[in-house]
């Protein structure tokens, strides 16, 4: 299993109701269904990935995240997960609102545009960064809303979103000591566990 998904799976309780936004090939949900008996659903738009999910017996629902999540009732899930997708939706701020409306908690992961490699690309080369955790060129990237950890945390503060937990890793999803000291400089990918302000 992908290292990032293993980290997320650890954060989910057995029997939980899980909504995975942009579930890809259903790896996380298949794992959670088999090991933690979760009641999980994944939203996906790519036909081939949907077929792969079906081959795994995953509850995959074809739905475009940019059309909103209005069809999901408030407080209807224990955990809403979004891995490496927040940066590619049209309105990440509204998406975050919706996720916290639907789920008691959320897990969000995204690539850090403040990582030192990105900074070096722009500062020294004057070019948009292409790195292991950001492999696209500026013209074909699905990542239309890149941000740094600091940007994201500021958005959470403005929205009153509670950051319950944060885990910073490199592009191979490993945590190295320096990342905990200077996360926004050395971290490539972050995992945030979030809750509503009321919680």
């Amino acid at each position: 299993m992908r290292a990032d998904l293993a980290i997320i799976a650890d954060l989910i309780n057995p029997g939980a109701r899980v909504l995975d936004l942009g579930c890809g090939e259903g790896e996380l949900l298949a794992h959670l269904q088999n090991t933690k008996q979760v009641n999980g659903y994944g939203l996906e738009i790519d036909g081939d990935k949907i077929t792969t999910c079906i081959n795994k017996g995953v509850n995959v629902i074809e739905q475009d995240l940019d059309q909103g999540l209005g069809n999901f009732a408030s407080n209807s899930f224990d955990m809403v997960v979004m891995t490496e997708t927040l940066q590619s939706v049209k309105a990440p701020d509204r998406m975050l609102d919706d996720m916290l409306r639907i789920g008691e908690e959320c897990i969000v992961t995204f690539p850090n545009f403040g990582n030192w490699r990105c900074r070096v690309h722009i500062a020294l080369r004057g070019k948009m960064p292409v790195a292991q955790h950001l492999p696209y060129s500026w013209y074909d990237t699905p990542n239309i809303h890149l941000c740094t950890f600091r940007d994201f945390e500021r958005l959470c503060r403005e929205k009153g979103v509670r950051i319950i937990e944060r885990f910073v890793a490199d592009s191979k999803h490993l945590n190295r000591p320096l990342m905990n000291v200077f996360p926004n400089f050395f971290g490539a990918i972050a995992f945030y566990r979030l809750g509503s302000r009321s919680g």
Binding site: I54, N55, G57, N71
Partner: protein
């Protein structure tokens, strides 16, 4: 030449080949939802593939408005076309008869061999005609459970249907939750919209106002409301296709070289609809058409659950697969989404996909690659779940 063509179709490795319809006879009274009791009834059905020892690999295929039991294969070597869903049922096809035992029947009230308006009423000794009682989707499903009992099938691996067929699968899930492992709802809806009922009513009026209808006793008069049936079918056909699909298929092509600016059939689309309408009026019984469209209109499983579809579906124990088609405006993608949303709220296992297609509601009968790929994947996973107990 045509015969040779048939022979080669028949012997193709992915054809179920020659099939012989069978008849299930229910000899006890059967009370219908409308309050009328049938003293007995018959259902004509076909099966493809073999039931395994555990009887766990049965698949029930439910037909739509004008369908019947002959879903796959050929009745005889000279038959010009195979069953209506032959592209989907057979060895190596999405509903793989090497893995599944497929049951396909003609519903109660039908006109292809099951007890219906054309059958003899034992109380009068003559055909039921317009006196055949109203049947509902629930009645169909209950009659199907009796056929399943007779075949030794306790639980279907899947119950599959498009359009009105999907509605039967949904009703099964609600009324007999422990008797199916999966329900596959294709181009379906949890109830008809006002627009849908309106189309059905126009079709019915075409039949009812045909001078040859004779209050449904056309047989006694030695006649048939051909024009009414033809118009009903022509209207139906337009609503089963999409604007784009019709443009692609017919455009403004003319039957002959140039416009004659007369009143006769000029455009290919007219010729096509006339042909479809005429051949339908020769094959289909008008009273059955009225009855089937009524069953469609009345279908609304949530009604007895305080109009709450979530509550209705909360009884279900099976998993669901919901498929819809982009240009289907008769049973639109939105209607399927309503079902999916209700299933998620009811905490049921559900997968769903939306297939890109230009062919409107008719898409569910067509071998669209993406559609068949994903249906094959689902059926393959089901086969894995029930275990190959052969």
């Amino acid at each position: 030449m045509h015969g040779c063509q048939r022979m080669s179709d028949l012997s193709r490795a992915d054809s179920v080949g020659l099939v012989i319809p069978e008849v299930y006879r229910h000899e006890a009274p059967f009370a219908l939802q409308c309050g009328v009791t049938l003293e007995s009834f018959e259902l004509v059905y076909e099966t493809y593939g073999e039931l395994n020892d555990q009887a766990s690999n049965a698949v029930l295929v439910c037909h739509a408005l004008s369908g019947h039991h002959h879903a796959a294969g050929f009745h005889e070597v000279s038959e010009s076309r195979p069953g209506w869903w032959d592209n989907c049922i057979g060895p190596g096809k999405p509903i793989d008869t090497r893995q599944f035992y497929v049951v396909s029947l003609n519903n109660l009230g039908g006109c292809h061999g099951s007890t219906g308006p054309c059958s003899i009423n034992p109380r009068t000794g003559s055909a039921f005609g317009p006196d055949f009682p109203l049947v509902t989707v629930s009645d169909w499903v209950r009659s199907q459970t009796l056929l399943a009992d007779d075949l030794g099938i306790r639980q279907f691996a899947a119950i599959i249907g498009g359009s009105l067929g999907g509605m039967q699968a949904m009703q099964w899930a609600i009324d007999f939750p422990d008797r199916l492992h999966a329900a596959v709802l294709i181009a379906c809806a949890s109830k008809l919209s006002a627009q849908n009922i309106a189309f059905n009513e126009i079709a019915r009026q075409a039949i009812l106002t045909d001078a040859e209808f004779h209050d449904g006793k056309y047989r006694e008069q030695g006649t048939n409301p051909d024009i009414g049936l033809m118009l009903a079918r022509m209207l139906g056909h337009v609503t089963y296709l999409s604007d784009d699909g019709m443009r692609q298929k017919f455009g403004r092509q003319l039957k002959s070289g140039d416009l004659s600016l007369g009143q006769d059939v000029e455009f290919q689309v007219e010729s096509y609809l006339n042909h479809q309408g005429r051949s339908f009026s020769k094959q289909f019984d008008a009273n059955t058409y009225l009855l089937m469209t009524r069953a469609l209109d009345y279908f609304d499983p949530a009604r007895v659950y305080q109009d709450d579809l979530v509550l209705a579906l909360s009884n279900a124990l099976c998993k669901f697969f919901v498929i819809s088609f982009t240009t289907d405006w008769r049973f639109s993608v939105e209607r399927s989404k309503e079902i999916v949303d209700a299933l998620v709220k009811a905490r049921k296992d559900v997968a769903s996909t939306v297939i890109e297609s230009d062919h409107g509601h008719d898409s569910f009968l067509l071998p669209i690659p993406r559609y068949f790929e994903v249906l094959s994947a689902y059926m393959g996973q089901l086969h894995h779940e029930i275990g190959d107990a052969r």
